[in-house]
């Protein structure tokens, strides 16, 4: 390494911290979008209307069959051609959210199928509506079941934010790249980026583990 580690941290630490903070925000907002998309698509797949089911199936098929990077490019570079210009940040959150949503939809679908029919039946027999039953009886149970899978998906999402470096979102990867082009120290800075991602994913995993333990008493 050129110079001492302490000097490096003093010089680049704040910048990395800011980039890491941005990654956290990107991840959080993306998760919100992806859960909304995923839940909607999973419920749409059980709709009585063929058109709704078809739309959900198409969405999942398209997203899972194309690279995330291309989806990001379509949203950021493609949509302006149709007159919709989004900031890199917004385009990134929407693209990654829609991407992850397709995977969340599959997770939610498997969770829904794990809920015994009797759970819904007993609620309907008491006079609950379909949506009340879904909201208060089915989904809370689904959430507990899918928590581990949905954590994995959140971690993928966090790592995928590095793709947004390609559309000029100054997150960790792009920040490191700018430093590298100025300092010619790719090894140092990419290792630094890797370590920061590791810290973030580990923290996320720990939070999820804590949540899982809280629900463990229900099994």
């Amino acid at each position: 390494m050129n110079g001492s580690l302490l000097q490096d941290i003093a010089a680049y630490g704040p910048g990395f911290l800011k980039a890491a903070w941005l990654v956290l925000w990107l991840t959080l907002l993306t998760i919100l979008v992806s859960w909304a998309c995923g839940l909607l698509a999973a419920l749409a797949q059980r709709s009585d209307l063929r058109l709704v089911r078809g739309a959900a199936a198409f969405y999942i098929w398209f997203i899972r069959g194309t690279p995330a990077l291309i989806q990001i490019f379509i949203i950021y570079f493609g949509l302006p051609q149709l007159g919709l210009r989004l900031s890199p940040f917004t385009a990134g959150v929407i693209a990654l959210g829609i991407n992850s949503g397709a995977y969340v939809a599959e997770i939610v679908r498997s969770g829904l199928s794990a809920i015994h029919r009797g759970q819904t039946e007993s609620a309907l027999a008491l006079g609950f509506s379909q949506s009340q039953t879904m909201r208060t009886i089915v989904l809370p149970q689904v959430f507990r079941i899918i928590l581990p899978s949905i954590t994995n998906e959140a971690i993928s999402t966090l790592k995928n934010t590095s793709l947004l470096s390609t559309i000029t979102v100054v997150e960790l990867t792009l920040y490191a790249q700018t430093l590298i082009s100025a300092t010619f120290r790719p090894f140092d800075f990419y290792i630094a980026v890797a370590v920061i991602y590791l810290v973030l994913t580990t923290v996320l995993t720990q939070i999820a583990n804590w949540g899982e333990r809280r629900y463990a008493r229900l099994s």
Binding site: H116, L124, A125, L126, I137
Partner: protein, 266 residues
């Protein structure tokens, strides 16, 4: 039993699954306070009939009167039940299932207060107070903060009954509620049901517990191949069955019970 109109009146209820006709036009009047047991072989339509009373199964034809509800199940009929009407109807008819179906993510108390708080807008304090009284009655007050998974099958089924009672139903439907229970847990559930009957609750139950049907019910219905083949007071229907099929059915059931008893003693 009171005078005047029956609490529940069903006329010519019909239901098919695909080409298989499960109910071939069943009619029934149930008076306030009556306890009606429905017996019959599996596939006789007895469960489907019970489930069409709170319209968990939508009949394809027939009429129903229950309180202010007057339904005609024929497709396109003016008084065909709407979704909202069904929700209101079901709020007044309690149903207990073979597999208890308690909600595992809620405590016993939460299971009991969920419906009154959500559907009747009962204030929490009042809902809790009423639920605790119900739980005390079924002998599970001290389990109010437990999750269902910690309870025995019999305890879960008693909570399921309390959950239905929390809505203060005018009619209770029991669908083979002891069939999934270990033999030694059946008794506690039957005792609770007998005490409800003694309190004047109007009840319809599909059951294989012939002794319970004989001792507690005011009327026994025998279902066979989608029709109500025989009905009357338990003494007559169960001791002096008219039709050969009912005799056969009772013989088989009682034989099973005797075998079970003999095995228990062995």
């Amino acid at each position: 039993m009171t005078d005047g109109a029956p609490l529940l009146r069903l006329r010519e209820i019909r239901k098919s699954f695909g080409t298989f006709e499960v109910l071939k036009g069943v009619s029934l009047d149930v008076a306030q306070g009556e306890v009606v047991s429905i017996i019959g072989a599996s596939g006789s339509g007895k469960s489907t009939f019970l489930r069409s009373i709170n319209v968990m199964e939508m009949p394809q034809a027939g009429k129903m009167d229950f309180g202010d509800f007057h339904f005609d199940f024929r497709k396109g009929a003016a008084s065909h039940p709407t979704k909202v009407q069904l929700q209101k109807l079901r709020a007044e008819i309690g149903m207990v299932f073979q597999s208890y179906n308690l909600w595992p993510h809620m405590t016993v108390l939460q299971n009991v207060i969920h419906a009154p708080m959500t559907l009747r807008r009962t204030p929490r304090a009042q809902a809790v107070e009423e639920a605790e009284a119900l739980l005390a009655r079924i002998g599970l007050y001290e389990k109010r903060d437990s999750y269902p998974a910690r309870l025995s099958g019999g305890q879960q089924q008693r909570v399921a009954i309390a959950r239905a009672l929390a809505m203060k139903p005018r009619l209770m439907l029991f669908d083979e509620v002891t069939s999934a229970l270990d033999p030694e847990l059946v008794h506690e559930v039957l005792v609770l049901m007998a005490s409800l009957a003694a309190d004047g609750m109007t009840m319809l139950l599909v059951t294989h517990e012939i002794a319970f049907a004989r001792d507690v019910s005011s009327r026994v219905l025998f279902f066979d191949q989608g029709v109500m083949a025989e009905q009357g007071p338990p003494d007559r229907v169960l001791r002096n069955p008219e039709s050969p099929r009912l005799r056969q059915f009772l013989h088989r059931i009682l034989h099973d019970e005797m075998t079970r008893t003999t095995e228990d003693q062995a």
